[in-house]
Symmetry: C2
Subunit: 218 residues, 2 copies
């Protein structure tokens, strides 16, 4: 059994790896808000437990065992987010902090019930995939809205940045997952887009925003 602290390191390792590929001590340190020497010693500990492959001055890597355990924590996190959003009327901008705590609950039955009540969802409220019971994640191939061309119509499938502020911004524009979005024009200068969706006939989205919206062909 891993401690809550160890679980947080595993999860961060997993998340950074899936965003950035490589994980180094410095990144992990910043992400967790924990000083580098502490991270180093925890890496040695996790290496002892065969969860991390650790060699001095080399990038950090989760072992298969480490990936599985991290995946299972993320499964609990995302199932919880979905449960909060779908069954407890939380907004997608409010689910993260609670899920961050509930992901550490030790009770397979609890998460199995969630899963069942939700009808075995494949994604969380932000469109991120929920790992399966073996901790395996399968990412769908999405494109950034910012990479799409004028005239295309796409479906909003996921959001990348899940900060509360970004999600509140999306709320204010009534942008939510599943929406069909038509790209009306793209400003050459700053790559901002004018798009149409739902009741919005011409909404301007900055490139910063478009880079964080993942879409699939409609």
């Amino acid at each position: 059994m891993n401690s809550l602290t160890e679980e947080n390191y595993l999860k961060a390792l997993f998340n950074i790896a899936s965003e950035a590929g490589e994980v180094n001590v410095n990144e992990l340190s910043k992400r967790l808000g924990i000083k580098m020497p502490t991270v180093t010693s925890m890496m040695k500990k996790l290496a002892e437990k065969k969860l991390v492959q650790y060699e001095s001055y080399k990038p950090l890597r989760l072992t298969e065992k480490g990936k599985k355990e991290a995946g299972l924590i993320i499964r609990k996190h995302r199932l919880t987010e979905m449960f909060l959003a779908e069954k407890m009327n939380f907004g997608w901008e409010d689910v993260h902090d609670v899920a961050e705590q509930i992901e550490h609950i030790q009770s397979p039955a609890f998460f199995d019930k969630m899963d069942e009540l939700l009808g075995y969802p494949k994604i969380d409220p932000h469109g991120s995939p929920i790992p399966d019971k073996n901790g395996k994640v399968t990412w769908k191939e999405y494109n950034k809205l910012s990479d799409c061309k004028m005239g295309e119509t796409v479906k909003l499938a996921a959001v990348i940045n899940t900060s509360s502020d970004f999600l509140k911004y999306l709320n204010s524009r009534e942008l939510r997952l599943g929406l069909k979005i038509k790209i009306k024009s793209i400003e050459a200068f700053d790559k901002s887009m004018i798009v149409a969706y739902g009741k919005h006939a011409a909404e301007v989205l900055s490139n910063i925003v478009c880079e964080r919206l993942m879409v699939e062909k409609a």
Copy 2:
């Protein structure tokens, strides 16, 4: 903010006090499965924080502040139990262990949602009162079934021992809260009762069981 460990001490202090009146170090030590010296030092720490009144060799007492904080933890515990039972299809014999973990979640919104979805319940699945938002508990005046007389008809209002085994025993006899129970006879020798309820015309309940069933006038 109190640590998870401190919360467990507070809760145990509160629970023992409401069962046994006085709390001594030895009792608390046994309840928590923590050695006496550790308990002593934690009591000094909680006294520093004005949560416990502590004097060497004297019985332990929660301060008003301590009672309130303990009550709020128990509120979260019991709300959770109710939520698990009512909204997630857990049996009353399975809710305790999960609630024991979720009671430490820091998120007023989370418990407010539970409360709301449950329609502001006053009791948990075992009939124990849910403390209010100030941590205050109000116990209803119940009687033990074992103190009732032959011929009386009473309503099962709460169960005292919430061990999984006891609750499974009650399940096997289809005994649940709210049930009207008629006392058909009492065996003078061992004080066992023959009772009728629901589809059960003549069920024998030992005194051990009857002492753990709290009832009110039907």
